[in-house]
Symmetry: C2
Subunit: 452 residues, 2 copies
């Protein structure tokens, strides 16, 4: 019998997790990874720290090299190979490699891990000095530009967590930064008391926030060195612009094979990561998953989820029977010396999911004040009808973000707020409080519901 | 109708939590707190940091003063009042105050929060220079001794987490420290791979560990300045000795009222913190609780639990109906720049509870290596028969201890190891890993059980 072949399209988090797990599951399998770019298995979440210069070399972000996968895991990585269509009837992937004729690559099992692309950004063609920062190749270009040109002023378009992280990276390089936000607040999806903390941290570092405005055009001066960023509420000058206006799943390849997209417009998958076509799996930023709190499909592209989805897809493509139930919406970031994190649903998301959300915000400390504990702000969300925990968000200078993990587990376990008040969490003066923020917030929530 | 009176015996964590919660529950109640000492509501877990000098004033450890409770919460605190017996038939507490005749204090409801005393230590009378460190008064005496005498050599008897914290406090004062441990290892109740980390950290700071030896006698030189600590395996010289040989619940008062003790020899309480005598509650280090993993009564005296038990006792004594289900055995400490924490059962405890424990130890990092992430060691314990999570322990220089909290919640929710692998925990390079230690350990456990 001929060796079965697994083809994986995409060689970053989900793709290489899938290939690696498939190899462990099935030592006989032939595994081919097609990657249109030249970078493999890097930590995309580290890009802001490469842009700031805190991480000096791009190679430091690479977890394993292509050679490592070839030699240690017997995985054939084909760089510079762009998959252009899938033909499920003949079980073929058509790919381009340089100037040669299109290649036909047969597969028995296929994993689509094509990731995401920057959302359609600014109308018209962008002049030089405008960058996306969605992958390592773009980050390298941006970093070269920053190192060689040493711009004094920068504009970040977009105030989500990635926009904020990039704004911080520029500020660390002593660049004067303006952030243009389409919405009223930074960090969409976070609750107001947490958003305020980040806005204050940005202001304290001299970052100018232009809210409620959309960029209409970016033009260059005659010399090409000065950029003018025109937006609905005015115009900013800068020498560098970074677009962080969100990403969207790369689905054209799946669509070429009539693979079904979900309601989020990302590739629909079941809990084995199989698409609507038998034997074809999808994982990572191109696919949707299930939000375990709302029970609904969700597009929530993150490295953690991509790795898990990839591992499950690879396990099943290799003959296993793994399942990925979904996420609870956990996200963490650090910028301007402030850690922020959320898990679960926001108030708006909870309403959209049919809950009756209530919330309370408390102030606490990272650890004992007599050992220098730093202030924390935490917002707890629950459903008034059922008493179910819906979400937890935290902001603070120190030891803040990891505090959402206990709440994330509580969400996985579908705990009620009443179950949280007496959780046996760890305490010692150098890193915690006797009454941890989650417990205080739960206690306040119970009081608010007059169930004390 | 006359005002009802609540009497609380003991004014530290459990006692003042009970009094405060009873006040909130019942504004009419007369609340009297009897405290044999002169300190109120202090953070006992901070004592090692006061001894080291990191916390300069003992007052910094006081959460609220007696005057605060009197003025803001209408709680009568009677310092220097030692309860000597309880007469449940007449609902009286007999107490001594200075040289006066014994007082009779009538109660309608009673909360016993008498705490714990140092376990019977060294045979014979200890010479000056030998200290216990179980409460603020003793810590103040020790600190005065250290500040005035500036001893060069110290011996700590006992290698539990308190012994280790005190050894660290002495080492920070540049005192040469020896620790005498009755057992083979430090940190009884921790797993070997975690114990090793602490032993290495102690050795790196020049602390000498004398294992498997019991102190038989402590003698003083003629001048009284040098102490000789005789133990089974030898003899140490020092100018200061601190006894950290464990604590035992103070139950004589409860026994005077024929209140039932549990199998752990601490006061037995139900989940409303009521003792075997109606209307008499017990909370904190004098009482036992239930271990939610083993389902069995346990004596696990900690500040976090004392506060929770006190709050529940006070709520019920004030007319409420609060419940405290129990603990999952979470404990955290930091010493010698190493954070250690555990939750759940140890291998020995799990066997004693009838489980068939298996464990795996993994190495991971606190956060991205390219941002200076520090090594972590984590041990996961599970039951081979049921796949239930039994425990999780972590050691590391940075960001280690709080990592047990997610596992603690999983224990409360009675999760299986298979439920852990895909938990949606927070990740960002400055404070976490894409695959958090708990997830890696769960994955290894699943592999070990051939359920991959």
């Amino acid at each position: 019998m001929a060796r079965e072949t697994l083809v994986v399209i995409g060689a970053v988090a989900a793709g290489m997790s899938a290939a690696s797990r498939a190899r462990r599951r099935n030592p006989q399998l032939r595994i081919i990874v097609l990657e249109k770019g030249h970078d493999v298995s890097y930590g995309a979440c580290g890009l802001p720290f490469y842009i700031s210069g805190e991480v000096s070399r791009a190679d430091d972000l690479v977890v394993y090299t292509a050679d490592y996968f070839r030699e240690k895991r017997d995985i054939e990585i084909r760089l510079g190979h762009e998959a252009i269509s899938i033909e499920p009837g003949r079980k073929l992937v058509h790919a381009l490699h340089g100037a040669s004729q299109p290649l036909e690559i047969p597969y028995d099992k296929l994993v689509i891990a094509t990731g995401a692309a920057p959302a359609a950004g600014i109308p018209g063609t962008n002049p030089p000095g405008v960058f996306a920062c969605n992958d390592l190749a773009n980050a390298i270009k941006l970093r070269e530009f920053l190192d060689s040109r040493q711009p004094r002023r920068g504009v970040v378009v977009g105030a989500g967590y990635i926009g904020i992280e990039i704004a911080d990276a520029l500020a660390k390089r002593k660049i004067e930064v303006s952030v243009i936000s389409r919405g009223e607040r930074v960090l969409a999806g976070f609750e107001p008391d947490i958003q305020s903390q980040m806005e204050k941290a940005m202001e304290a570092r001299g970052v100018r926030l232009k809210s409620n405005s959309t960029v209409t055009q970016i033009t260059a001066s005659a010399s090409g060195e000065a950029l003018q960023i025109h937006h609905e509420k005015g115009s900013e000058s800068a020498e560098v612009v970074i677009l962080a206006t969100g990403i969207e799943p790369r689905t054209s390849l799946a669509e070429s094979a009539n693979i079904r997209l979900g309601p989020t417009r990302a590739i629909a998958v079941d809990d084995r990561m199989q698409t609507s076509v038998n034997g074809i799996y999808a994982a990572g930023d191109c696919a949707e998953t299930r939000h375990l709190v709302s029970g609904k499909p969700v597009y929530f592209p993150l490295g953690t989820t991509a790795n898990k989805m990839g591992r499950v897809a690879g396990d099943n493509a290799g003959g296993g029977n793994a399942r990925f139930a979904g996420i609870v919406g956990t996200l963490a970031a650090k910028a301007f010396d402030l850690e922020v994190a959320r898990t679960g649903l926001s108030t708006a998301e909870a309403r959209a999911a049919g809950f009756h959300p209530s919330s309370t915000t408390i102030r606490s400390f990272s650890h004992a004040k007599y050992l220098g504990g730093k202030p924390l702000t935490a917002t707890l969300l629950w459903d008034k009808s059922s008493g179910l925990l819906l979400g937890f968000q935290v902001a603070g200078e120190h030891g803040a973000a990891q505090r959402v993990d206990a709440a994330a587990v509580a969400l996985h376990a579908r705990m009620r707020v009443a179950d949280l008040e007496h959780l046996d969490l760890g305490y010692a003066p150098p890193f915690a409080q006797v009454w941890e923020a989650l417990l205080i917030a739960a206690s306040e929530a119970i009081k608010a519901e007059k169930r004390l």
